[in-house]
């Protein structure tokens, strides 16, 4: 067969690489700002756009989807062409993928700053941008599948298996979790509520980690590590077993984000066991990576690319052991809602994703520019500063997490909470937060050095936009399995069948966990006293979502003595049935708020307290790290949306009376005047039309219905 000559598209790889660096710096600098807000809350600047609750999603989305996402595309567009011995399927699709993705990132940042959010972690984008994400993602998929189909190699390599699994699973996750009914262009309500919304969200959230941060990067590891080390992959068999085990098991593990929540016990158990079973499949990737370096360890000491890879793969091994441990109930009871989770996430993001991304960039940029890396010394410096940064980031947070969890749980000899004021447990952590900020800062310094090094490399070299290559055309083997051809070997030359098998593998776990929550009524026992929110409370709730309050406050009291003593009745599945979206949160930088409105409860505060607290939290306690929310006091509540919101809620099954949308604003104004009058009696003059009134109405509703059900914790006799 004669050789065909063709050209690899390096230009698209270069574009993605530049975007990776650009967004990486932005995403991490926003992260640093957030870290500093823990020490100096004034750094929220008293304006909405830079407040913690709004920029935290900018940080997480920028790092995950902009930095790691562009890094993933960089690595895939470079390796896929070479592994398929083919140019990308279609240059136009490549360009749409690139520019579309950058457009999404810009829209995301602007909309989050503007308070447009669904309030679901890592899926905060509102519906029009979600649609755009779906389209661009499908463009990427089509371009990838097209390239694979026109390949000049008989079989697809393990890296491509991981790319395929990434594409199909992210498609499914994104579409299912984003299903929502729009109120207008900027606001929608998810079709799921409460427990169901929580399960779907964490099925998505956990598997975004699995299939956006893990599988594509395992694919990249399988290409760049053997290339950089010039060593064969340790075990083909291991790659088969750990690939299928990983994608099949990963999808089940989502409920480990909801341990000790109102999620039914059986679903929690599945979350625990499938997380524990993930240790070996995850380590399969680490083992295959590290053992591939056998015989090349002397080079690891010299080659910065390999150094970055070794630490990345080790960080992957560490966090995939730590993750399952955190998914056991024993550890989770301590780690959940604390900075442990944040530390864990950053071992993955900074170590695994960040370092592997830089390994890939250090590998492919000199090659595309036909030169050597400008300075090995600077790359080594980047490596050491980055490593130090990760340690400085994570260790103080682990320390702080255990400190805080212990303080939450400590009782005096008299049987009272030793630290009943939540704020004490936050103030205690300030030195750790300072150290964390230094760690994050160091990591950014490392990245800046890396960018400097790459810029000088690029200047010294000459870019090859079209890289010539040649390979014989593919003579396709027969569709049927040949004699002596293993089942998997056959699948490796049938990419479409491969994709379908992968799809089935990832659908099973999700279906088995999510469907029973809809079909089996006992999973969410009804509580008769739980009623829909009033129009004012609903509007207030939407402000709560808009401001990202869930990024610091949970609404989920766990069934621990230390929590029922601090907050009140533990969470029940039935109390969240009208919560579109659920707002359970995942991290407590402030106290849980789900019992805030129980007048006889421990957390209760009068309307005037909430008013003063939003206006100036530090006036009430100078140690407080709560941001100022003074615009709630000056801004008018937009009540033009009330009728539409009620109608959408009715469509989603919330039992407002027929025609209620037409009179909802009348009720809204009556309730608003009541709160304004109460504030007036406390000497506070505020119009009933202001946002603060709706916010107070919502906060004062929290926990009321459960309490009214007459199931206060005290009524449960234990002896």
């Amino acid at each position: 067969m004669e050789n065909q000559t063709f050209y690899y598209d390096n230009k698209i790889v270069k574009n993605f690489a530049y975007a990776t660096l650009f967004w990486g710096v932005i995403g991490m600098v926003v992260g640093l700002l957030l870290a500093l807000q823990f020490i100096w809350p004034a750094l929220t600047f008293g304006i909405p756009y830079t407040t913690f609750g709004r920029i935290r999603p900018i940080h997480t989305n920028a790092v995950i989807f902009a930095f790691v996402g562009n890094g993933m595309f960089t690595g895939i567009y470079y390796s896929l062409q070479r592994l398929c011995k083919a140019r990308m399927f279609n240059d136009l699709l490549s360009k749409i993928n690139f520019w579309g993705w950058q457009l999404i990132i810009v829209f995301a940042a602007l909309s989050f700053a503007g308070g447009m959010t669904t309030g679901k972690e890592y899926a905060e984008l509102e519906w029009p941008i979600d649609l755009l994400v779906a389209v661009i993602w499908l463009v990427f998929g089509a371009n990838m599948i097209g390239t694979i189909i026109k390949r000049r190699t008989q079989h697809i390599y393990v890296a491509i298996w991981f790319y395929i699994a990434t594409f199909v699973t992210i498609t499914v996750l994104h579409v299912v979790n984003s299903l929502a009914i729009p109120v207008n262009l900027f606001k929608s309500y998810p079709i799921y509520a409460g427990v169901q919304d929580a399960l779907v969200q964490w099925w998505y959230g956990h598997n975004a980690v699995a299939f956006f941060l893990t599988t594509p990067f395992l694919g990249l590891m399988y290409y760049y590590l053997p290339k950089a080390a010039n060593r064969p992959i340790y075990s083909y068999r291991l790659s088969i077993v750990h690939f299928w085990a990983l994608i099949f098991l990963y999808i089940w593990a989502g409920p480990h984000h909801l341990l000790y929540s109102a999620l039914p016990g059986w679903a929690q158990s599945l979350g625990v066991v499938f997380s524990v079973m993930l240790i070996a499949p995850s380590w399969g990737g680490m083992v295959n990576g590290l053992l591939t370096l056998r015989g090349a360890w002397d080079r690891v000491r010299e080659d910065p690319v390999l150094k970055f890879m070794v630490v990345a793969v080790t960080a992957y091994g560490m966090s995939t052991f730590e993750g399952p441990m955190m998914s056991t109930k024993t550890v989770n009871a301590i780690s959940h809602f604390t900075d442990w989770t944040v530390g864990h996430a950053h071992i993955g993001a900074l170590g695994w994703n960040g370092f592997l991304t830089f390994a890939v960039l250090y590998y492919l940029i000199p090659r595309m520019f036909q030169t050597q890396l400008y300075s090995r010394k600077i790359a080594n410096l980047h490596f050491w500063i980055g490593t130090l940064g990760i340690i400085f980031y994570a260790v103080p947070l682990y320390w702080g997490a255990i400190t805080q969890a212990s303080m939450w749980k400590e009782f005096t000899a008299d049987g009272f909470l030793k630290y009943p004021n939540f704020l004490e447990t936050v103030t205690q952590l300030k030195p750790m937060y300072a150290a964390r900020a230094i760690g994050g800062g160091l990591y950014i310094v490392g990245i800046v050095l890396g960018i400097y090094n790459l810029i000088l490399t690029i200047r010294a070299g000459k870019f090859v936009p079209e890289e010539a290559a040649s390979a014989p055309a593919l003579v396709r083997a027969e569709g049927k399995r040949g004699s002596g051809e293993g089942m998997h070997r056959w699948l490796e030359r049938r990419p479409v069948q491969f994709m379908l098998v992968a799809l089935v593998a990832i659908l099973i776990g999700g279906l088995i966990e999510i469907v029973p929550l809809y079909l089996v009524k006992t999973n969410i026992p009804t509580i008769a006293s739980v009623k829909p929110y009033t129009p004012l409370e609903l509007q207030g709730r939407d402000i709560y979502v808009r401001e990202g309050c869930y990024t610091c406050h949970s609404q989920q009291v766990r069934p621990f003595r230390s929590e029922t003593e601090r907050y009140g009745e533990y969470a029940k599945a039935g109390e969240y049935v009208y919560d579109h979206p659920f707002q359970w949160g995942s991290k407590r930088n402030g106290p849980d708020l789900s019992r805030e409105g129980v007048v006889s409860g421990r957390q209760y505060k009068p309307n005037s307290w909430h008013y003063n607290h939003m206006l100036n939290p530090q006036r009430l306690n100078e140690q407080s790290i709560m941001p100022v929310y003074k615009w709630l006091i000056t801004d008018d509540l937009d009540i033009s949306t009330t009728a539409k919101k009620i109608r959408v809620m009715q469509f989603l099954g919330v039992p407002y009376p027929q025609g209620y949308d037409k009179i909802a604003n009348d009720d809204l104004m009556i309730q608003a005047r009541g709160i304004a009058d109460d504030l007036k009696s406390q000497g506070i003059q505020v119009e009933p039309t202001k946002e603060i009134i709706a916010m107070i109405a919502y906060l004062q509703r929290l926990g009321k219905d459960v309490h009214a059900a007459g199931m206060p914790t005290a009524a449960v006799t234990t002896k």
Partner: protein
């Protein structure tokens, strides 16, 4: 990559491991190594552990779900529902005046009370405690009483579930020392003048 002299099986030079023929992707080769034994065992152990876990928790249900765990924890602490201080007889109570008690009272004040009454007791959400007026009575016994029973409709919660009798007496004693002080920006008087 060198051909072995005695057979046609290709072996990796550095490790001597067998290379898979036909497995070459952009010059990446794959070795024919088996799964590491320890890895297989690790996988098997986690699977067995998981089967046992589901069996114990969800099939025969001998291990407690979280609601049971909570009841057990409360029972172990010897409490029925949330902790509470015993009722305090407030008649003829005399405020503590020794320094350690007042210091302890002040510490509780800073942690629990000042978020409504502000640090100097000048009042903001809650009333000014430095002037000669009071909503719920002026004596030490009255102060203890309002801390115990609260007036939730006015925003003052009952503290009996969060403070012990001893703590309540100390913080009330500290409150008595605020009277007559002059912190900045005092809240206007509320309630009745004290005699």
């Amino acid at each position: 990559m060198a051909m072995n002299e005695h057979n046609t099986v290709e072996k990796d030079e550095l490790t001597g491991d067998k290379l898979l023929s036909g497995h070459e992707y952009d010059n990446i080769r794959e070795l024919d190594n088996n799964l590491p034994k320890w890895w297989v065992w690790l996988f098997i152990i986690t699977i067995v552990w998981s089967v046992v876990y589901i069996f114990v928790f969800d099939v025969i249900k001998v291990a407690p779900y979280q609601q049971e765990e909570w009841k057990n924890e409360m029972a172990a602490a010897g409490v029925v529902g949330p902790g509470q201080s015993a009722p305090i007889v407030t008649a003829n109570l005399v405020a503590l005046t020794d320094k350690p008690s007042l210091d302890a009272g002040r510490e509780i004040w800073v942690k629990q009370c000042k978020i409504c009454h502000l640090e100097g007791g000048q009042g903001l959400v809650g009333p000014n405690l430095t002037d000669n007026f009071s909503i719920h009575g002026c004596t030490y016994g009255d102060v203890v009483n309002i801390i115990v029973v609260g007036a939730p409709e006015k925003g003052m919660i009952s503290w009996k579930a969060q403070l012990s009798e001893d703590q309540i007496k100390k913080v009330a004693s500290f409150v008595m020392t605020l009277k007559g002080t002059t912190p900045p920006n005092p809240k206007p008087p509320q309630g009745e003048p004290c005699k």
